[in-house]
């Protein structure tokens, strides 16, 4: 028996051996870049800045300078730039690492750009449409186009009813899944709740319409139909989120309660739910924020109307999202004013969503029961 053959390194990059020291000792060598064949610590930033400046100059020379183009081309040039520089100094493996890191950071920037642009544009274009009239008047018979009070009230009514339907059902289902569920029903529920999160919002709207049409006849439009449609979308979100929260409640609390002879339902309602309270509030608020801006299901269930309607069973009911869509789709004689109102509605909506999201996080942070 001969000794086992030595590991075969022939397939590896020939640079590996010479580079291993540099790569492995990165942490210690980073500081002394001058002597070690490593780029200085500022290299990625420097290359990126240089690439931006280069692209700005080229684009300006061509006369097509825009910030977006500069950033896009700058990122591409920077990726190649850092590769070339690093390859010359550090070798191909490090060069590839640096180039891909740069590309990933750039991709993250690309992904964030729409968020920044969108928030900026909504604020810039939404503010001119905001006025006292926007919040206090409806649009019935107004030549000027009127306000959006009816849409704001409608949004609150429709969403409020949807929350009132979804939270008890969703919460009890989550309690079932986490505290009671066993066997087939639980597994079916887990799976179908996942499936339900994927229902397209317009399909939820069609479902609500089909359901009510059977009882009230064709062409029916009511605020509560919208609430039913939104509930179909909201219930799975509530279940998933509150199930996560209930899971975190430690078992020893339940066991301590049982040990004292407390019945199961009291354990759940007096121990588990209060412990998870902050998390549940957060879950409900985030779910509400998700559905409050839904447009498509309301377009087919609550319809479009110009006047204030606070009766969810009394015919058509306007809401902010559909209002924004309608101001864009069928603008009045003064197109610009209609578009302003659409953007103002968008701004109001986004403000509500952001406020709900931020409060949800604050509630969670402030009232979170310490669980160890």
């Amino acid at each position: 028996m001969s000794a086992p053959p030595p590991p075969d390194f022939s397939g590896l990059d020939p640079e590996l051996a010479t580079e291993a020291a540099g790569v492995g000792g990165r942490g210690t060598l980073l500081g002394s870049s001058a002597s070690s064949g490593l780029l200085p610590g500022w290299a990625p930033y420097g290359v990126f800045a240089a690439a931006l400046a280069f692209c700005a100059a080229v684009l300006a020379a061509l006369g097509i300078f825009t910030i977006a183009l500069m950033l896009v081309f700058g990122a591409v040039v920077a990726v190649f730039g850092i590769y070339a520089w690093s390859r010359a100094v550090e070798g191909s493996r490090r060069a590839k690492d640096r180039a891909i890191t740069m590309a990933i950071v750039a991709a993250f920037g690309v992904a964030m750009a729409p968020l920044i642009s969108l928030l900026y544009e909504v604020i810039k274009r939404g503010v001119p449409g905001l006025s006292a009239e926007f919040f206090t008047e409806d649009a019935r018979g107004k030549i000027s186009g009127g306000g959006a009070e009816h849409a704001i009230v409608g949004t609150l009514v429709i969403t409020g009813i949807a929350v009132a339907i979804s939270v008890p059902i969703g919460l009890m289902a989550a309690i079932y899944m986490n505290e009671y569920g066993t066997g087939k029903l639980r597994r079916a529920l887990t799976f179908f709740v996942d499936v339900m999160t994927g229902i397209p919002s317009i399909v939820a709207g069609l479902f609500a319409y089909a359901l009510f049409e059977i009882f009230f006849g064709p062409g029916i439009r009511m605020g509560v139909m919208g609430s039913v449609a939104l509930s179909v979308l909201m219930i799975p979100i509530v279940i998933r989120a509150s199930e996560e929260v209930l899971k975190i409640v430690p078992n020893h609390l339940r066991e301590a309660s049982y040990a004292l002879g407390t019945p199961k339902w009291k354990t759940i309602s007096k121990i588990v739910l209060p412990t998870a309270f902050a998390g549940l509030v957060t879950a409900v608020m985030i779910a509400t924020a998700r559905i409050i801006g839904e447009t498509a299901p309301l377009l087919v269930t609550t319809g479009v109307v110009d006047s204030l309607n606070t009766d969810p069973f009394g015919g058509r009911m306007q809401n902010l999202a559909v209002y924004a869509f309608n101001e864009y789709r069928s603008p009045g004689i003064d197109k610009a004013a209609s578009y302003d109102r659409a953007w103002a509605a968008a701004l109001t909506l986004i403000a509500i969503v952001m406020i709900l999201n931020v409060i949800a996080r604050l509630v969670y942070r402030r009232y979170k029961t310490e669980i160890r």
């Binding site: 790569v23 493996r93 690492d97 891909i100 890191t101 590309a103 990933i104 991709a107 993250f108 992904a111 964030m112 729409p114 968020l115 642009s117 544009e121 909504v122 274009r125 059902i169 009890m172 289902a173 309690i175 029903l185 639980r186 179908f192 996942d194 499936v195 339900m196 994927g198 229902i199 397209p200 919002s201 317009i202 399909v203 479902f207 319409y209 089909a210 049409e213 059977i214 064709p218 062409g219 799975p236 002879g261 019945p263 199961k264 339902w265 009291k266 759940i268 801006g293 447009t295 498509a296 087919v300 319809g303 999202a321 924004a324 869509f325 578009y339 909506l349 986004i350 969503v353 996080r361």
Partner: protein, 317 residues
Amino acid sequence: MASVDTTTNAGQLLAAASGGRRRRGDRIFSNIAVISAVTILALLAGVALFLVTEGWPALTASASELPGKEAFLDYVAPLAFGTVLAGALATVIAVPLAVAVALFITHIAPPRLALTLGFFVDLLAAIPSIIYGLWGIFVLGPAAVPVMKWLEEKLGFIPIFEGPASATGRTMLVAGLVLAVMILPIVSAIAREAFSQTPRKLQEGAQALGATRWEMIKMTVLPFGKSSVISGSMLGLGRALGETMAVTIILSVSGVISFNLISQANPSTIAANIALNFPDSSGIKINALIATGLVLFAITLVTNFIARAIISRSNVQ
């Protein structure tokens, strides 16, 4: 020992004292929980059932009664094509970006920043779709016009950039871009989850053998997260297929079947077609629209089933 005995006794006494009431309370409470659970299953079944009931008349009606005087399959085919094209385009654009975003948050950004960055990515998911639509038509569309002109001039020999380039930006390409932004958060959230669960020992092992960070990611993180990325992409695709308002606002439609991404004439999508025509329709047209909704429901269900099956299979391993 003594204290344990006391609690046990107290518990037994309590139980004995309130035995009857306790059982009734428990029974009622657990019944409510079970009923809620069953309600949800019934709701999902109800969605399918009511769509079938209301869509059925259109499926069985003769061609002359339906909108456009054509058989239902001919009516829905271009819409289904448009739906799949828009969804596929969005997925193709979003997935590489989402993977990059997930890698950035889990492996490149300073760990202290990761939570905050994740919050910003999630904010993208919180923005209502109507606002994406307005942004697409007023901001992104006009900005994309010169780019699409350039694509037509330089890359016009590729069928998807054949042109003539739209002058308004209301094209499939812009709709696909906006959809991509909308589904990016869900894809990246699932990828992030998987990437951050890559076993530390694998990552450290790779780096101890001298791998650079990218080599470590390529050898450990990406293979580990592969099935999650695939299922996340399927979920994103499901979202994009059913997304309504952004497409309704952005796309200028003409019922053609065409892969041309930058022209004025685009196939509509099922969801957008419903949103555009439902408010003004009545009678059998409503049934036809509900039937197309049923088709959309079926397409998204299949997509989601596959995605969930991949997730649950990879969880078992």
